[in-house]
Amino acid sequence: MPKRTVIPFGPHHPVLPEPIHLDLVLEDEKVVEAIPNIGFIHRGLELLCEKKPFQDMVLVAERICGICSLVHGIGFVNGVEKIMNLQVPERAELLRVFWSEMSRIHSHLLWLGLAADAIGFESLFMHSWRVRELVLDIFEETTGGRVIFDAIKVGGVKKNISKETLGRILKQLDKIEEEYKQIADVFVNDFTIAHRWSGVGVLTKEQAELLGAVGPCARASGINFDVRMIKYGGYDKISMEPIVETAGDCYARALVRVREVYQSLDQVRQAISKMPEGGEVEVKVTGFPTGEYFSRVEQPRGEVIYYVKGNGTKFLDRFRVRTPTFANVGPLVQMLAGCDLADVPAIVLAIDPCISCTER
């Protein structure tokens, strides 16, 4: 039996913008077992519901993550609106869809850039982030922010977008799609990328189901699951089918994200075309939440769950977040078992880990 060695991976590593640690048990160059370790920066944000009124908790939810902050806000307000029986105006729902899908485009472009950088494809990294800047410009124009948007509130949205601006955004989307197509073609057709990621970090469909994988990780393993299909919020007005690949490797995870950018561009256009002109973008909120609900929304990284429990006061009894990266830790352990040491960074990056979400 070969001698076993334990190699620490992280919490500081070039492919890890945030701290996560793995104890890699090796036999020669093969990983036999990977033991994950998180909790370096656990913030305990869930406990803030004891101190902050439920309306202010939207701001806390949005600050869980700096990449998909808006989707966190939507997950939280969906739960509160359900237990308060609030019917959000259609325009506000579609504005939420618009910003959600723009967030997905921005998040996937960010990941594609990081992934290209991790394999030494510097020019592809720069082009991915150049296109992402165009998306952030739209956020800045419509919300005033590029990272934290502060556009969501219980009962609707805080910001409206004029017809003229939406028309201009539609033209910008055409430009973004045209430029993105050039990048996407490289991810799909380049020999080096396919060679580096194909067959690496395989997670079969059965393993993904058993281990509770979510988001692009699950869909790359052939699982046809996307929370947007439950038609929460304004998604009942948007037509879509989950993007699914079957190889279950790092390349399949990249391809799912590449295709989801096109899907999100389509959904943004649908949201704009179906948005009613004029009208309110919020309803008046009276009283305090009573009851409980598990609100599920599809973040760029997968299913996020907000559990909210109200007790009839301005403070919630419980505010609980299960983030997609937290759900993908178990599948990551499986992906790493049996891989080469040199493939570990690519595999860890392929789940698109967001530690600030995980350490909420």
Binding site: I38, G39, L210, R318, R320
Partner: protein
């Protein structure tokens, strides 16, 4: 539009047989969530074909134990370590037990303390 969800109360001793049958049925373990009230309420959430179901059991606030389901759903190890570190629940048989070091926090069971409003009013 909001999805319909079901919450089913179970007893602690029913947990493992129930979870085993859910695995056979092809249900995905979505999460394990704990809420502190007069008791600790633990929710096991499952999903199949977009149908979201919760199985709920109650534990005493202090000193209660909970059988691990990692033998059935290995990925539950993250949630069970969280139950231990944040709520102080002793989970018995966790296949990847971090022994209280999953979250590197100074306080013991910070989520199983009186709410700050009660502390302020005391």
């Amino acid at each position: 539009m909001f999805e319909t969800q079901e919450i089913i109360n179970i007893k602690k001793e029913e947990l493992l047989p129930k979870v085993s049958s859910l695995l056979k049925d092809g249900q995905r373990l979505v999460q394990i969530c704990c809420t502190k009230g007069s008791k600790l309420v633990v929710d096991y959430s499952f999903d199949k074909n977009y149908k979201f179901t919760n199985f709920r059991l109650e534990l005493d606030l202090q000193g209660d134990t909970l059988p691990s389901i990692t033998e059935v759903y290995f990925a539950a190890f993250t949630y069970e370590n969280e139950l231990h570190d944040l709520f102080g629940i002793n989970v018995v048989g966790n296949k990847l037990d971090f022994g209280g070091k999953f979250y590197r926090i100074k306080e013991t069971a910070p989520f199983n303390k009186p709410p700050c409003q009660e502390v302020k009013n005391a």
